[in-house]
């Protein structure tokens, strides 16, 4: 019964469209190595390495092969879920990533929930009271939220709520699998710090989308028909901003993943962010590539899900 639905055809088409994007993304991830100035093998071997050691590294990683051969080898391994080994610990990169992935995702999901739970009501309030003092206050606050360095907010939260008042743990994380309650407890402050920019973004986008809809022709018709403002807002206004909201969620997830990198540093959280920062500093390129690769695949996958959700929220998308 589903076989010929337009939605299913859209899924197929999206899959086909996404393949070149993934291939290009792997190309970019691998290409990062080519940005290293000078001789890569010498850089990897360290400052005081002997000629022999440099040559050994060059042979080990096949650095004398043409670029495309190296890329092909890397891609083939990546497809088989082999993201190579860390230069530092010699552990498989994928294992490290999988170990840290839940910690980072807990922050991102927590921040996303806070952004939506706080941002949506504020955005609706500002839009339905556009031009009022309430609107001015909400809009100014969201301007602050956009300009606020999230790691600074994190530091302020730690200094006050954790260190002075002792309400929350100041650093570290607990694995969700072993102690869900403790994990959430540790994730509260980082998520709030991460969500500040997200709330602001949700408010701004939702407000402008809702104002546009509420001033449209068909809403005027609904008023003429005698519908109450509340009914218009809940039945017609919000249904039409759902598409905007989905777009914002997609954008936010990518941005929160990036933000988590910095926030993890403040709270000394052993997630993917602190992993990539350390790896970049000590030039552990397989780890850098692995984390960047995981994150971009994650974002591409989420964007695809959101594309599909568009067809649920707005059936016109599927029919096109």
């Amino acid at each position: 019964m589903l076989a010929n639905s337009p939605r299913l055809r859209l899924v197929g088409r999206r899959f086909v469209q996404i393949i070149p994007v993934i291939v290009l993304a792997t190309f970019v991830v691998f290409g990062l190595l080519k940005l290293v100035p000078g001789d890569l093998a010498a850089t990897l071997a360290g400052e005081y390495a002997t000629e022999a050691r440099v040559a050994q590294i060059r042979a080990e990683y096949g650095l004398d092969d043409p670029f495309l051969v190296q890329y092909g080898r890397w891609l083939l391994n990546a497809v088989q879920l082999d993201l190579s080994r860390s230069f530092q610990s010699n552990e498989p990169v994928l294992d490290q990533i999988l170990h840290r992935f839940p910690t980072t995702m807990l922050l991102v999901v927590g921040a996303l929930l806070i952004s939506l739970v706080v941002g949506i009501p504020l955005g609706i309030l500002a839009a339905t009271h556009a031009g009022s003092r309430l609107d001015t206050v909400v809009t100014s606050l969201s301007s602050f939220g956009v300009a606020l360095p999230n790691f600074w907010l994190a530091m302020i939260l730690v200094a006050t709520l954790s260190l002075s008042w002792g309400w929350f743990p100041a650093t570290g994380a607990v694995r969700f699998a072993s102690d869900p309650q403790g994990a959430i407890w540790h994730a509260v402050l980082p998520s709030i710090a991460l969500a500040a920019g997200g709330i602001a973004e949700v408010v701004r986008q939702l407000r402008s989308a809702l104002i546009e809809i509420l001033s449209s022709q068909y809403v005027r018709t609904l008023y003429a028909k005698g519908l109450s403002p509340a009914a218009i807002l809940w039945k017609h206004g919000l249904k039409n901003v759902a598409v905007t909201l989905l777009t914002v969620i997609g954008l936010l997830i990518s941005r929160l993943l990036g933000g988590a990198v910095v926030i993890e540093a403040v709270f000394a959280i052993p997630g993917m962010g602190s992993m990539v920062v350390r790896a970049a500093i000590v030039k552990d390129f397989p780890v850098v590539q692995g984390v960047v690769f995981t994150m971009v695949i994650l974002v591409i996958a989420i964007n695809m899900v959101i594309d599909l959700l568009y067809t649920v929220v707005d059936p016109r998308v599927a029919l096109k």
């Binding site: 290009l24 993304a25 790691f151």
Partner: protein
């Protein structure tokens, strides 16, 4: 003064922002003249001091004057923002212009590349690029610029698609104008306005990115002062001297806010639909 305000759409906040930024530029340029102490001058006998007449904002963990470091941090912060946005503009605008104007397979290829690059969480890609290029402010900001460029390219492409339909573009082609002349004289100037707004807003994002990267130790290297780096040091002494983190944080917040306010005012001033109302 009046004209300036009119030009910014009668937006008082934007005028204040503009003055704040101009003041910051002057401060940055005159940093060695204004700052009461050298930014790296240590005084281990007077560390983590409270604000006083001698040290308006106190001293840091090495007894260096916080106010002087803040002023000396301004040039590198502003340089970083402008470098990143310049890199993004130099890459993004021509690429977007080309994609939009040429259409066909050129557009297809460029658009796919833009889609791909936009899928990367910005700061993570910037960290990767910085790690590869080598740690330091210039490399970090080139990385941030590269990360910003696809967004600008997409905007420029969309604008070019609209402008190239205009009659005057056809007219100049009929007069035998060369491709480069059409692009530079007719398409680019008419498509650039939203890009200018975006560039102003990007300055704030670049500023926050610089602060984040310096905080993580990937940007400005100590002992050189930077606002993000000052926060990184303040972080280490958060338990005994939490007030260390206020001055650099507020400086970042206000500067980013000023860039944003200015960008939003420009958007309103340049928006033809709003002007009509």
């Amino acid at each position: 003064m009046r004209r300036l305000r009119d030009w910014l759409g009668g937006n008082a906040a934007a005028v204040v922002s503009l003055f704040f930024l101009v003041g910051l530029f002057v401060l940055a340029l005159a940093a060695p003249l204004i700052a009461p102490y050298p930014p790296t001058g240590q005084n281990l006998g007077n560390t983590l001091a409270e604000p006083s007449w001698a040290h308006w904002m106190g001293t840091d963990d090495l007894g260096r004057d916080v106010f002087s470091r803040l002023i000396h941090g301004a040039p590198s912060t502003l340089f970083a923002s402008f470098l990143a946005v310049s890199v993004a503009t130099v890459i993004g605008v021509p690429v977007g212009l080309l994609a939009g104007f040429m259409g066909g397979w050129v557009d297809d290829v460029i658009s796919r590349v833009i889609d791909t690059l936009l899928s990367f969480p910005g700061i993570v890609l910037a960290i990767g690029v910085t790690g590869a290029l080598g740690i330091g402010l210039t490399n970090a900001m080139i990385a941030v610029g590269i990360v910003f460029s696809p967004g600008l390219a997409r905007l420029m492409r969309a604008q070019t698609l609209v402008v190239k339909q205009e009659l005057y573009v056809d007219a100049s082609r009929c007069f035998g104008a060369s491709l480069s002349r059409i692009l530079l004289k007719h398409v680019a100037p008419n498509a650039i306005q939203p890009v200018i707004v975006q560039v102003t807003l990007l300055l704030a994002v670049a500023l926050l990115a610089e602060a984040s990267l310096s905080f993580l130790g990937l940007g400005v290297q100590p002992p050189l002062p930077s606002w993000g780096g000052m926060l990184a040091r303040a972080y280490n002494y958060m338990e005994i001297a939490p007030e260390q983190m206020y001055a650099p944080g507020i400086a970042i917040l206000l500067t980013a806010l000023a860039f944003n306010t200015l960008g939003e005012a420009l958007r309103q001033a340049l928006d033809p639909t709003r002007r009509r109302r």
